[in-house]
């Protein structure tokens, strides 16, 4: 879509980002000058620390992705919210306490202390790098999604900005993710989500949403004289039929009016064509958005309830928490699907209307097929279970999650903080459902990028709110990205150079190696961010969780609870989990269709979520190799 730049929003946005970055820099300096980072930590309230904990965990990208997925598919996006929070139960109840009793606080340091083996450190280092990289991709995609509607710049510019700012931060100062900064970010993110939800309930629903001066696009239909596919004839003489297309049981019509070529979808039983949207790409020419170059702004935002309470022209006024769902459940929502059509050299992505009963929006199944009565295959249902498994098991295995739990003065303090964190993260995830469904019904979906749904919903309530939310999200992404890059790439590079290859580095050189690695990882992340542009952010986050759960979780659990683990067993388990899940992801149907632009059916893997195979495989490998190598290790 085409977005004009909004000067007011840009000013607020830049001010806000500068304030957050300035605070971060100020606190970082203070932390450095203090004797020991947490020496002064005793006077931080556990509640503050808890919100900071939440600020660490809630990546703005996953928020954008969840809201976007709910906006397109309803309940299916909310599954991520449930799974992400459920994952905390594994982290808090199973992993945190025993890991602490080992005296260690990250996966890598725990296995390093246990085995003192170069191979294990190398394996853990590589898997940490890969997981971090996969966690970085959605952050970059999220940054691009935020910048586009805000500054009127192309997607790539957003990715480049984040990359450049982060590399600048990392190469000059390093960014301390201090408690106060994370507290401010976490608090603001939750506070503004509450605010948007409040505005949403107050404004209620309408069958023609949209603010003054920017109403919802009036969707057209064309009456047909003949609705038989192959012989379609239009009643309205101002349209000229150009061509019919058939794809996956649907019929699309290309028609021209006033020199604009547009696509329509046939509804044979109603004898009409319904309006679709299209992006046509052809070699050597600019892309056409609904028949015209992007700048002309013909492509429009969508998403509305077509029927409320049995009527098609209704405005509800304020609603409450329960009637919010009730109105959607009893109504009908116009969702949008997409289909690719090929016409000689040119290629069209056509977005068409899918009128959907509200009751079907509020159960899983619009994206992840699960109901055999609605055509779900066995593989589809396994895919769903696999997704829920990876979300559940992934959190505890992410490299950067548990660190904050251990950097506080006492276990009681850590736990109280964690309670505040779990409660506020839980609240935030509940809000995602309202925000996502709000975007679905308030005419704010950009079909070319679903990740923009939450920021665009905020924009419908006013530019100021929009700018502030975007700034918070952007600053949060900056924090997450620089933190991940510094922690993962820097530390891992030094670890690898130091422990695996036994290279002696002076302190100066170590910093240099860390920064070089950080810049490299930053550039790779930028490139991947552009490559994965069109994918839903939480889907991408889900992959990071799958890789973490496959490569790291079996090793963590078995080291904690099984005495017979050997170094070779851990190495084999990490290798099998990491490469197994990675290869299965690269061969998955969803990767084929959305990354390589190939038909999903040509993918060798039947499912897109491999955790259900790769996690048990990694566990079995660990047990088998440990048992086989038991004696050797004892002799050594």
């Amino acid at each position: 879509m085409n977005y004009p730049a909004e000067p007011l929003a840009i000013v607020i946005f830049i001010l806000f980002v500068l304030v957050v970055l300035g605070l971060s820099y100020w606190f970082a300096r203070r932390a450095r000058s203090a004797s020991g980072y947490y020496a002064a930590g005793g006077n931080i309230h556990w509640g503050v620390n808890g919100i900071a904990f939440a600020g660490d965990y809630l990546s703005a990208a996953s928020f954008l992705g969840i809201a976007g997925m709910i906006a397109l598919y309803g309940y299916d996006g909310f599954l991520y919210s449930i799974g992400f929070l459920a994952g905390w139960m594994v982290a808090l109840f199973v992993v945190a306490e025993p890991l602490k009793r080992m005296g260690k606080y990250t996966f890598a340091s725990a296995i390093d202390a246990k085995f003192k083996s170069r191979g294990v450190v190398l394996a853990a280092g590589i898997s940490t790098l890969v997981v971090s990289l996969f966690y970085l991709i959605p952050q970059m995609v999220g940054a691009g999604a935020l910048i586009t509607p805000l500054l009127g710049l192309p997607f790539e510019a957003g990715v480049f900005m984040v990359g450049a700012v982060v590399i600048l931060i990392v190469a000059t100062a390093g960014m301390a993710s201090t408690t106060m900064v994370q507290f401010i970010k976490g608090g603001l993110l939750i506070g503004f989500s509450l605010g948007v939800t409040g505005l949403l309930l107050f404004s209620g629903f309408s069958t023609s949403p949209g603010e003054e001066g920017n109403p919802l696009h009036d969707l057209q239909t064309i009456e047909l004289a003949n609705a038989t596919p192959g012989n379609i004839e239009l009643k309205n003489p101002s349209y000229t039929l150009i061509e019919e297309f058939e794809a996956e049981g649907m019929v699309f019509v290309k028609a021209e009016k006033d020199n604009l070529i547009n696509f329509w979808k046939l509804e044979e039983d109603q004898g009409i064509l319904t309006q679709a949207q299209s992006i046509v790409t052809q070699p050597g020419q600019p892309d056409l958005y609904n028949g015209a170059p992007k700048e002309e702004g013909k492509f429009f935002q969508v998403g509305h309830l077509s029927v409320i309470d049995g009527k098609d022209n209704v405005q509800t006024g304020p609603v409450n928490l329960l009637s919010f769902f009730g109105i959607i459940k009893e109504g009908e929502v116009v969702r949008w699907g997409s289909q690719r059509l090929y016409d000689g050299n040119s290629q069209a992505t056509v977005y068409y209307q899918i009128p959907t009963k509200g009751s079907e929006i509020l159960v899983p199944g619009q994206n992840f097929k699960i109901d055999p009565d609605k055509g779900a295959s066995g593989a589809d249902r396994v895919n769903f279970v696999s997704l829920m498994l990876s979300l559940f098991l992934g959190t505890a295995a992410l490299p950067h999650i548990l660190i904050r739990y251990y950097t506080v003065p006492s276990p009681a303090f850590a736990r109280k903080s964690t309670i505040v964190a779990v409660a506020s993260i839980g609240l935030f995830y509940l809000l995602t459902f309202f925000i996502g469904l709000g975007a679905m019904t308030h005419g704010v979906i950009d079909l070319t990028n679903e990740n923009m749904s939450a920021p665009l919903l905020a924009r419908s309530f006013g530019l100021g709110i929009f700018a502030i939310i975007s700034a918070i999200a952007f600053a949060t992404i900056l924090g997450t990205v620089s933190g991940l890059i510094v922690a993962a790439s820097g530390a891992v590079a030094i670890d690898l150079a130091h422990k695996t290859f036994r290279i002696q580095l002076s302190e100066k050189k170590m910093v240099l190696v860390g920064r070089l690695a950080a810049v490299t990882v930053g550039i790779i992340a930028m490139a991947l961010g552009v490559a994965f542009k069109n994918m839903n952010v939480s889907f991408l986050v889900g992959w990071a969780f799958t890789i973490a759960a496959s490569a790291n979780l079996p090793a963590i659990i078995m080291i904690l609870f099984w005495s017979k683990v050997t170094a070779k067993g851990v190495i084999a388990s990490i290798a099998v989990g990491l490469f197994g899940s990675l290869v299965m992801i690269l061969l998955a149907p969803e990767t084929f269709s959305q990354v390589y632009d190939l038909p999903a059916s040509s993918a060798p893997m039947p499912i897109s979520q491999p955790a259900i195979i790769s996690v048990p495989l990694s566990f079995l490998t660990l047990v088998a190799v440990s048992l086989l190598t038991k004696k050797k290790d004892e002799v050594e």
Binding site: G36, F93, V94, I403, A412, I419, G426
Partner: protein
């Protein structure tokens, strides 16, 4: 990410107890989560049943999130009491400065 060094916590008498409690609460949560996943796949129609203006999927999903928070609170409460008890023992055995 400058999280600072991990701090050495005081001797943890209740460590084993807390690990066990954690596993028990995990054993409470996990089946409820699994039932949600399995029911969604096996019986989507049942999960769509009405509960007032809501449906079972929404109530169950919200319930899972709220249950997670409640279990975390319970965990903290029991652990804190246990630690208090341990401290009291220490005081009577060794005296306090």
């Amino acid at each position: 990410m400058g999280h600072g060094p991990s701090t050495e916590w005081k001797t943890e008498k209740s460590g084993a107890f807390k690990s066990k409690l954690g596993l028990i609460l995990f054993a409470v949560f996990t089946p409820i989560y699994l039932i949600f996943v399995i029911m969604s796949v096996v019986s989507p129609t049942f999960m769509a049943s009405d509960i007032g203006p809501l449906n079972l999927s929404i109530v169950y999903g919200f319930g899972l999130i709220i249950l997670a928070v409640i279990l975390a609170v319970i965990y903290n409460h029991i652990c804190s009491n246990k630690e208090k008890g341990d401290d009291a023992c220490e005081e009577t055995e060794e005296g306090v400065e």
